[in-house]
């Protein structure tokens, strides 16, 4: 009833090719962005910022990057944690070593170096496919793990290998309260989200999807696999690198290589799969699900235990978290292999017909 296109006529190509062609969609998105920028800061307390919102924003950005590589271009990569690490450490080095470096430039430079590394480790994708490629990208993960522990230059020759940043300012605005951090990350996410959405609708995005669907056929019709695959690695690593820099600078403040270990790579891949491969919206859903779930379980399980009069030790809660997490992943994959984004689009379809059944 409310969600339909009746009466919305497009009178120019430009209007027809908008991101959100349906007015209701546009209004909804603008409302969400406005709520996120204005409403949330009014309603939310510090813990929610630090534990849920900020990780959610940064990990959605990272999931966006991974989705471009895995979902749109079909190259399974398990090295995303390494690219986050490159982004974080190179942003740190740019920030510390160059006097007066603006924060945003430092973060973007982190992304730039991550791009270079991503392209280098993307070269095997020209020869190797599928699960072999997934394992080959683990080489990137372990190499970067080692490099940031061993090569002193990356950590400013810090004896312990742990680095930290503080006093972040952007054009005079000091970012120290959780709300500041939240808004800063939100800004990055909106900009990159828009860029990503437009990229995947463009020619290069279509090339990626062609490679994903059938790379031999794509090569036959003239799409250069090298260019397409490496550009996917490049763009994906850039976004993941910036997300890594944000994770280190804004969320953690002080980090060591273990913060970007293989568990982080798996986590990002989970977000992409659960959220929906090949869907920008899916990255957000997946990130939200994975960020909120452990905390949710951590709060709920003891409460449920108390209902039954059983005090559960933290170890049991931790184990139960693992079990519930694992079973939920499996259950999700069985029920909806195309992820939350598919559920969302099915929901939208139903909404178009509502209140009619068909």
């Amino acid at each position: 009833m409310f969600y339909r296109e009746n009466g919305q006529f497009k009178t120019s190509y430009r209007a027809d090719q908008q991101i959100f062609p349906i007015t209701q969609d546009r209004i909804a998105i603008l409302a969400i962005v406005a709520f996120a920028a204005v409403g949330v800061p009014l309603l939310v307390d510090e813990y929610l910022y630090r534990a849920i919102l900020i990780p959610f924003l940064i990990l959605s950005l990272a999931a966006l990057g991974v989705n471009i590589l895995v979902g749109y271009c079909g190259q399974i990569s398990l090295g995303s944690g390494a690219f986050m690490a490159v982004g974080a450490y190179m942003a740190y080095n740019t920030y510390i070593r160059v006097d007066g470096m603006p924060l945003i430039v430092a973060l973007l430079s982190g992304g730039f170096f991550a791009t270079l590394v991503g392209m280098v480790f993307g070269i095997p994708s020209l020869r190797v496919k599928g699960l072999y490629l997934a394992v080959a990208t683990l080489a990137a993960q372990f190499f970067c793990d080692w490099a940031f522990l061993r090569v002193g230059w990356f950590t400013n020759n810090n004896a312990s290998g742990s680095v930290s940043v503080s006093d972040l300012t952007v054009l005079g605005w000091t970012i120290n309260t959780p709300m500041d951090k939240y808004l800063f990350c939100l800004g990055f996410l909106l900009v990159f989200g828009l860029l990503a959405k437009n990229l995947v609708r463009s020619a290069i995005g279509r090339e990626w999807m062609a490679i994903r669907d059938m790379d031999v056929a794509a090569a036959v019709i003239g799409i250069r696999p090298m260019y397409a695959k490496l550009s996917a690695f490049a763009v994906s690593s850039f976004i993941v690198g910036v997300a890594g820099a944000l994770w280190g600078f804004i969320h953690l403040g002080s980090w060591e290589p273990a913060a970007f270990s293989i568990d982080r790579s798996f986590q990002l891949l989970f977000m992409v799969i659960i959220g929906g491969m090949g869907s920008i919206m899916g990255s957000f859903f997946g990130a939200g699900f994975i960020v909120v779930l452990p905390i949710f379980l951590n709060q709920v399980l003891p409460a449920v235990g108390e209902l039954f009069g059983v005090t559960i030790s933290t170890a049991t809660v931790s184990h139960a978290e693992y079990m519930v997490f694992g079973s939920l992943i499996v259950w999700f994959l069985i029920v909806e292999p195309h992820g939350l984004a598919k559920l969302w689009s099915v929901g939208k379809q139903k909404l178009r017909l509502w209140p009619f059944p068909h």
Partner: protein, 445 residues
């Protein structure tokens, strides 16, 4: 399709029901001192984390059984970190404001300590890092909120070198010897490097650095290299599974266990129990205490806590090395609160800032320690504004196949060497963070 509808509806209903069950924010229990307990009872470091956690919690229960801190009882809540920095930070954020505010945090992980060192000053909550964390945090002039009470890694490294020198017949006999440092490849393991290098420069022994990647179960190549180089001594700077693997590999390559020294996190029962006789002769430094089954406070815990069915963990663990470490760490927190109460009001609940003052002015005399039940276990601890460590004693204990026995006298770390290193590192940190050293007036507050 129907199944999907059902499934979707079920999950939404479950989520709704579950969130309704989440209890409302706990009423501020301002009558109790809240101790958050960051532990790891799962993961690769669990075997060593569990006894420490049990000791910590049991000591809190003992304090409550003794009547609390001048009548103020302690409430506590455990939070599982799994030795992961981001989970540690999440636990910190969740617990710092709970139940009237956290009194102090003890991260039990060097990685988490580094992260919380940035956050704690802003939230005005002291960090107690007994026996771990940043070695330079001993310098209270820069690190106002960090308290590595009773020992840091540089103290440990120095005492190990002193004992090795004693075995060789004197400091000058170390010239030309070869010591290999097998360390956990993480901030924790790397903390050993500066002191071992400093001592190598001073005494003329050759130092080889052999990193072992987390979690430390793969040490075959490390021991192949040790077999080739045949160092005179091996220093083990490991944690968790790395320790038992190290001793097993030493056995498998025939390296004499008497020549291996572990740091105080690498010398406990879980590391050698399974190997039994095969680990006989393995030495480790202790942070004053070792395995203390006969200590007075251990007996008190058994009587007042375990016999009442309140014990955390198995009874036969009480008195083991890491258990005592956990209890000692809890004791420092309790005594910090007690000292704070002496100034800010006996019988009242203390804030983080007040406890910080208490920790900075700890004066645990031998008499006081004895009355708390630590007779024969500890030496006096006395902190000050400039010295947040308070004591730098240690002993060496050795595994005899069944238990740990002390095999040395009390050593004291050489402050002549460590103080300049600490000051240099602290100054570097201050310069990086653009903070100034504390003024004398600040020390009085």
């Amino acid at each position: 399709m129907k199944i999907r509808h059902l499934a979707l509806a079920a999950s939404v209903a479950a989520a709704g029901l579950a969130s309704a069950l989440v209890p409302a924010v706990a009423q501020a229990q301002a009558k109790e001192q809240f101790f958050p307990v960051l532990v790891y009872r799962t993961g690769a470091y669990a075997p060593n984390g569990v006894p420490w956690a049990n000791g910590f919690v049991d000591y809190i229960k003992l304090t409550n059984a003794r009547g609390g801190i001048n009548g103020v009882k302690i409430s506590f809540e455990e939070c599982e970190t799994g030795y992961a920095t981001d989970r540690g930070v999440e636990c910190y954020e969740r617990l710092k404001g709970k139940n009237g505010g956290a009194t102090m945090f003890q991260p039990l992980s060097t990685g988490i300590t580094f992260a919380l060192t940035e956050k704690a000053p802003a939230d005005k909550i002291p960090l107690i890092t007994s026996g771990y964390g940043r070695s330079e945090s001993q310098d209270g002039g820069v690190f106002k909120w960090n308290f590595p009470i009773a020992g840091t890694y540089w103290v440990a490294g120095d005492i190990i070198v002193q004992d090795i020198a004693k075995k060789e017949g004197g400091m000058d006999k170390l010239k030309g010897k070869h010591i290999a440092l097998v360390y956990h490849d993480s901030p924790f393991g790397k903390e050993a490097i500066p002191i071992m290098q400093e001592r190598a420069a001073m005494l003329g022994y050759k130092l080889t650095l052999l990193p072992v990647t987390h979690p430390g179960v793969e040490q075959k190549s490390t021991w192949l290299q040790i077999r080739r180089d045949r160092p005179d001594y091996v220093v083990n700077w490991g944690w968790g599974v790395m320790n038992s693997t190290l001793v097993k590999e030493a056995q498998a390559t025939g390296y004499p266990r008497e020549k291996i020294y572990g740091v105080w996190w690498a010398g406990a029962e879980p590391d050698v129990k399974d190997i039994g006789e095969g680990a006989k002769g393995y030495n480790a430094i202790t942070m004053q205490h070792g395995a203390e089954p006969n200590a007075a406070f251990v007996k008190e815990i058994l009587a007042k806590v375990h016999d009442k069915g309140q014990g955390t963990g198995p009874k036969d663990e009480v008195g083991s090395v890491l258990y005592v470490r956990g209890a000692m760490s809890a004791m420092f927190a309790v005594e910090g609160v007690r000292r704070a109460q002496e100034r800010f009001g006996k019988g009242k609940v203390m804030t983080g800032e007040q406890v910080r003052w208490g920790l900075e002015n700890l004066d645990l005399t031998q008499a006081k320690l004895d009355s708390l039940g630590f007779k024969g276990v500890m030496r006096p601890v006395s902190t000050s504004c400039q010295d947040h460590m308070g004591a730098n004693w240690g002993r060496i204990h050795t595994w005899d196949g069944k238990k740990w026995n002390f095999t040395s006298d009390w050593y004291q770390a050489d402050e002549q060497i460590i103080k300049p290193m600490v000051k240099a590192a602290a100054d570097k940190y201050a310069a990086e963070k653009k903070i100034n050293r504390r003024t004398p007036q600040d020390c009085q507050s």
